[in-house]
Amino acid sequence: MKKILLASTALAFSAGMAFADVKMGVLLGFTGPIESITPHMADGAEMAFREISESGLFLGGQTITPVRADSTCVDSSAAQAAAERMISSDGVVAIMGADCSGVTMAVLQNVAMSAGVPMISPSATSPAFTTTDSNGLFFRTSPSDARQGAILAGIVMERGFDSVALTYTNNDYGAGFANAFEESFLAAGGTITSKVAHEEARGDYSAEVGQLAAAGGDALVILGYVDGGGSMLRTAYELGAFENFFIGDGMYGDEMISAVGEALEGTIGTIPWAEGEGADRFHAMAEEAGVQGQSSYTRESYDAAALLALAAQAAGEATPEGIAANILNVANAPGEEILPGELARGLEILANGGEVNYVGATNVELVGPGEAAGSYREYVVEGGEYVTVQFH
């Protein structure tokens, strides 16, 4: 009797192993200020995981199960609790996320680094990550705001506005971005009449706008999210405080156009964007899968997820240490170039001991842990649509 029990347990265990799947976390702000774009980001990441699972080539036929959790974008303690739960009770080996810079830094320093679990964020763009020592655990697929700040400052200058008012959302993302912009803009000879932080989720922004208006300036630069930043823009327009607006990547999205309406007309902004074969392929795949591939950071999310899986394959095991050690190897040259939809080919090459250079949807090139190279799209809102001006 005892033997039968033992045998059946062993059988059940081994059967469990055969179907064993690898769990990977998708930690994004499904509630909070960027809730309108996170579902599409998660869809993008899960598209990559699905592609890997369906190939049947991942670590000898294992599959990947994504585990979603809510980072809230603004509440660090909630994000940390979600990440801890992912790691300790769901047993994820790596995290695709988090999204907003503040919660990402909190999760990295207080949870991921103590647990030794690697993270690839698709959208944490604060310059602070470039200099943070994460023990080789943190990577990102979007470039730092230090560059976006410089590019946006160049665009504002180029259009002839050399005296602007600046407002940013009061968190790591907003402050880092605002400092980067300010530095470049002042270096280029511009003046910033006033620099005011704004909070998210307020009912009334007329006091903040009043302060910016009192300082004057030819244009208003808003570095924030659709929620607070969008309200600032509409209030500033309606009170006649400013006529010209420049916005950062956090405010890009269809939601912005429907929420702010005609006030947005003529607004110019930047967003990390990639063009080329990788991006085109990704968009075609997304369309087929019913995913809104044109939304912000969906490409970066797909790439982050693909990198995690390829790194596990390169390590030959789905462990946090193995993945962390191999992310840079699979992301950068040398090796065979891998585009979206070619993940199966990448897995095969890695299984045979070859090398890959993952290009993905955003021309991924990681500059050591914590930093990525990338390009930006300059757009202008015309007739309720985002129209591309040029790439930087």
């Binding site: 509630t31 809730e35 006033s194 005011v196 932080a197 909070e199 989720a201 307020r202 009912g203 009334d204 007329s206 006091a207 903040e208 706008v209 009043g210 302060q211 208006a213 009192a214 300082a215 004057g216 929620d227 309606e238 009170l239 006649g240 405080a241």
Partner: protein, 336 residues
């Protein structure tokens, strides 16, 4: 023209928003003061009940919009207000039967009532989020502006512009009407007089044959009317978000206490004082003063007493100062 530009600028960024905000606070503070003087406790559930009332109005608005009803250029929400009032009157009477009536019967201390209302606050808070979620809902329709900054500039030829949103004008007008009706009711009608008598001296009122339960019922219904009006006007002006309504609790109480708890006139005056203090103290006066200052004397700093983030600190400071130096408030109200 310079003083005129200064006036227009200060109106645009401070006076008109403060007037609208003060009117919304006044309607809320009136409810707090009424409950305090008749039921004799501080109603902590006020902000969240206001949110629920607004949610009911939004529900009614959506229903009316789906049916194609509209009173363009006015917002449809105005049509849905009676529906919201009906729901909220029922909600408050049911709450009274389920919660407060028991404590009245056992003659509980006011502090126990306050704690009970705290419980009601949490439940109401949850009910609102169940229906509306935690995000923002905008339900304003109709014409958004009476005149915009650009129209004003073209019309007057001034350098500064002035915008007047429909929701701001509606807020001020509706609040004034509601206040007028309330004063007429309290001073001229039999029910109003019995309420004031009950508030003044409970025992004497009982002896003269006033039915206390009737007075309580009327108070809740009036509070429901004021709440729904205040909540809807606030939501039309600034968008509906449950948490912002909870945050209104502090300025509304500050207004009621500053004016003198139990004094309706005090609540109104207190509300405008709080609103103008909140916005005036955090306002950057540089632009206005540079119009008024003589040539070459324009201020170079922002001329701002406190950063905008300290809005709530202003209210807190008012509350603390009043409680320390004049606990009865401006119009000699009761002391908590």
């Amino acid at each position: 023209m310079e003083p005129l530009n200064a006036l227009v600028s200060v109106s645009n960024f401070m006076l008109i928003p403060a007037l609208a905000y003060g009117s919304q606070l006044a309607l809320g503070a009136l409810g707090i003061t009424l409950i305090f003087s008749i039921l004799r406790f501080a109603h902590f559930a006020h902000g969240d009940t206001m949110a629920l009332g607004t949610a009911a109005v939004i529900g009614g608005t959506l229903f009316l919009q789906a049916r194609g009803a509209s009173i363009d250029p006015l917002p449809t929400a105005l049509l849905a207000i009676p529906f919201g009032i009906l729901i909220m009157a029922a909600y408050m009477l049911v709450t009274d039967r389920l919660v407060y009536r028991y404590y009245r019967r056992v003659k509980a201390k006011p502090m126990i009532f306050v704690m009970a209302s705290l419980g009601v606050m949490f439940v109401t808070n949850g009910v609102t989020r169940l229906f509306m979620g935690t995000g923002e809902t905008r339900f304003e329709d109709g014409q958004r502006f009476i005149f915009t900054v650009r129209e004003f500039r073209e019309f007057t030829g001034l350098a500064e512009g002035l915008a007047l949103r429909s929701s701001q004008a509606i807020t001020i007008i509706v609040a004034l009407i509601a206040m007028g009706v309330l004063f007429w009711f309290l001073n001229r009608t039999r029910a109003g007089k019995s309420m004031r008598a009950y508030s003044d001296n409970e025992d004497l009122a009982l002896l003269s044959g006033i039915n206390p339960e009737r007075v309580v019922t009327i108070t809740w219904v009036i509070t429901a009317i004021l709440l729904v009006l205040a909540g809807t006007l606030y939501g039309l002006d600034k968008g509906f978000r449950p948490f912002n309504y909870f945050q209104l609790l502090l300025p509304m109480f500050a207004a009621a206490i500053l004016g003198g708890l139990g004094s309706p006139l005090g609540a109104i005056v207190g509300a405008y004082v709080v609103a103008f203090a909140e916005l005036g103290i955090t306002f950057a006066w540089r632009r206005v003063l540079s119009y008024l200052a003589p040539e070459g004397m324009e201020p170079s700093s922002m001329m701002q007493l406190l950063p905008v983030d300290y809005k709530f600190a202003v209210t807190f400071a008012i509350l603390v100062i009043v409680l320390l130096f004049r606990p009865t408030g401006i119009f000699k109200g009761k002391v908590i």
